[in-house]
């Protein structure tokens, strides 16, 4: 008979290791909460733009041209009399949408390629990673210009352009931990169980590399937002009169001395978005490295 181990003490900490590590890391680095909160606030404002915006963003008003910030127009107005606060809210939709969608697409496509390359190795690895290298060798802006020139300026095309720059980056950071993990005993156990490669990659490898990837995902979302702003600034992005932060800055340049608020506020918006994501990413980074290793020890 197997001896019953009635007095076995199970170590009491419970719950998903990822969640615990996250909360632990966020508590350690309090600014991460700030980042999270700030980003959530921006997201809510962006999603709820139709609700929060006091004015129609493309509504022109000759009477209210170039007005400085006031109670009525929080960010002032531009040369067409449009309310800049409302425009900023709608611009947030573009920026955040582009940022998040590009990163998600890049993560799924690039991450998959990286896992496949790392898991199968050899020829598959070489082919995939060389293609990634070629893609990486294009500076982001050049890539954007080429794609927009070929496909035409529009929101989907901006997303495609930025996704294209992110795919090889995600592939890289997905590949390295995959190579490390596939040698671990629990992956060997999966082979011994006869699991299919797809199952092993999806259910066993991906959950264990997700943390590292999500760190970079949040940091690169900040990048994506900046790149989108850059595209809009250069006129490569979404066409006016749809408001974008980058476009608003560009329009404000012509009047920089008379109406500095036209460029200033969209710039601050970009700053807040990028900063919140960086703080968030730093918090996630802490969650990934030392903590998970510590909680591993029974």
């Amino acid at each position: 008979m197997t001896r019953p181990v009635a007095d076995e003490q199970l170590i009491p900490t419970s719950g998903s290791p990822v969640f615990r590590a996250l909360v632990g890391a966020f508590n350690h680095n309090k600014l991460s909460w700030v980042g999270l909160g700030l980003f959530m606030a921006l997201a809510i404002l962006a999603i709820g733009a139709p609700v929060f915006a006091p004015f129609d963003p493309i509504d022109q008003s000759i009477m209210s041209r170039m007005k400085p910030p006031s109670a009525e127009h929080l960010f002032g107005t531009d040369q067409y009399g449009r309310d800049l606060f409302s425009r900023a809210l709608y611009g947030a939709r573009i920026s955040l949408l582009v940022g998040v969608v590009s990163v998600l697409l890049g993560l799924v496509i690039g991450g998959s390629l990286g896992v496949i390359a790392g898991y199968f190795g050899r020829v598959t690895d070489t082919i995939i990673m060389r293609v990634m290298d070629v893609m990486l060798s294009f500076p982001t802006l050049i890539m954007g210009i080429i794609i927009v020139a070929l496909l035409g300026p529009s929101l989907p095309n901006v997303i495609i352009a930025i996704t294209a720059t992110l795919v090889p980056k995600f592939a890289r950071i997905a590949r390295a931990p995959t190579i490390a993990i596939k040698e671990r005993a629990y992956i060997e156990a999966c082979h011994a169980m006869g699991y299919s490669d797809l199952r092993i990659m999806l259910l066993h490898i991906v959950p264990n590399i997700l943390a590292e990837i999500l760190v970079m995902a949040s940091l690169w979302t900040a990048n994506a937002i900046m790149i989108e702003a850059g595209f809009s600034f250069l006129g490569l992005g979404v066409r006016p009169p749809t408001p974008t932060w980058g476009g608003m800055i560009r329009e404000g340049f012509e009047h920089i001395f008379q109406a500095p608020w036209m460029s200033l506020f969209p710039g601050i918006c970009i700053l807040l978005a990028v900063m919140s994501l960086n703080l968030l990413g730093d918090g996630l980074r802490d969650a990934v490295d030392p903590r998970l290793k510590r909680s591993k020890e029974g």
Partner: protein, 335 residues
């Protein structure tokens, strides 16, 4: 044995050593009220399982524990007549590697991969004895020879990765012995080595200890290693020292239930055993230590008083040096 009244003072005398760590805002003791001694030319083995505090004990002796979140108290920690507890960090530094030296378990990571072994062995000589590298070189080659590295003069400029695991551990031993320490602390020095290499290194340590008249504290989880090299043994469980005795006495007559259970649960290469008897249950975690004897929950001899207060180390027989901390099996007289 020498007459206790005129016997020379032990090389190392520790009394009431307690080390506490701060966890979640509260202080918990990792080792509690330890008292033991080591003589010259004697090997004291501290044996116990993971989490019992044996490594923390020697780290406490060396005062190599973090400054924050850690608290060391002792009635006495006396090395060669000198009290270590009152020393400043600078004074401790001049002792480490000099009068007392330590070797660790992992020879792979104990050596700096980018420096030659010659330089690493010379370093304690340079730091403590003020030698230059050139002056230290002959001493280094001599040391390599003593620890059994063949072609020492040629290998002194090699890098760690050019040595096998057993050889690396010998290099580490050479580093530890460079300044002729009085006391050697060895924390699981052979656990990561193959069996045949382990035998070589243990024999080497025994030879060197005898040749230099050092005292040695050997930490191990293996009772086999204890039986092979120890003169005296201290058994630790959950931060307490639960039994101390001469090695033959301990194995012939284990008094503490944990010691007895441990010996009974080990298979042997030299004889057939009908069944190894496992110890049920697990070691309590540091922040949930029970009141009273910490082994009571797993002990087949436990009585009511065992969970009320922790038993002190008491001699097993009249005036015996064999002591055990057990209400049931080691009476109630204090030492």
């Amino acid at each position: 044995m020498a007459d206790p009244d005129t016997a020379p003072a032990p090389l190392l005398r520790v009394e009431g050593l307690t080390t506490e760590f701060r966890l979640g805002g509260e202080w918990h003791s990792a080792i509690r009220n330890l008292s033991f001694s080591v003589d010259r030319n004697e090997t004291l083995a501290i044996v116990g399982e993971s989490g019992c505090g044996k490594s923390i004990t020697v780290m406490s002796l060396m005062r190599l524990l973090p400054e924050h979140g850690c608290r060391l108290t002792a009635d006495q920690v006396n090395l060669n007549g000198q009290d270590l507890m009152g020393l400043s960090e600078d004074e401790m530094r001049s002792l480490r590697g000099n009068r007392m030296a330590m070797i660790f378990q992992e020879p792979m990571t104990a050596l700096n991969p980018v420096l030659t072994i010659g330089l690493q062995i010379a370093e304690p000589l340079m730091f403590h004895r003020g030698m230059t590298l050139a002056e230290a070189r002959p001493a280094v080659i001599e040391l390599l020879d003593q620890v059994g590295i063949p072609s020492a003069a040629k290998r002194v400029d090699d890098y760690p990765h050019e040595f096998s695991g057993g050889m690396r551990q010998r290099v580490v031993i050479a580093m530890a012995l460079a300044c002729d320490p009085d006391l050697l602390l060895a924390d699981e020095p052979t656990t990561a080595l193959d069996v045949t290499i382990q035998a070589q290194v243990l024999a080497l340590l025994a030879d060197l200890k005898a040749a230099k008249g050092m005292g040695m504290i050997l930490i191990t989880h293996s009772l086999g290693v204890v039986a092979a090299v120890a003169d005296r043994v201290a058994v630790m469980y959950a931060g307490d020292m639960v039994e101390t005795a001469g090695v033959e006495e301990l194995f012939a007559n284990p008094v503490h239930p944990y010691t007895e259970a441990l010996i009974r649960s080990i298979p042997r290469p030299d004889r057939d055993i009908e069944a190894v008897v496992p110890i049920t249950g697990t070691v309590p975690s540091i922040d949930r230590m029970p009141v009273g004897c910490r082994f009571a929950a797993r002990c087949s001899y436990a009585e009511a008083r065992c969970t009320e207060s922790a038993p002190p180390l008491t001699p097993v027989g009249e005036g015996s040096s064999h002591v055990a901390a057990c209400w049931v099996r080691a009476g109630g007289q204090t030492a």
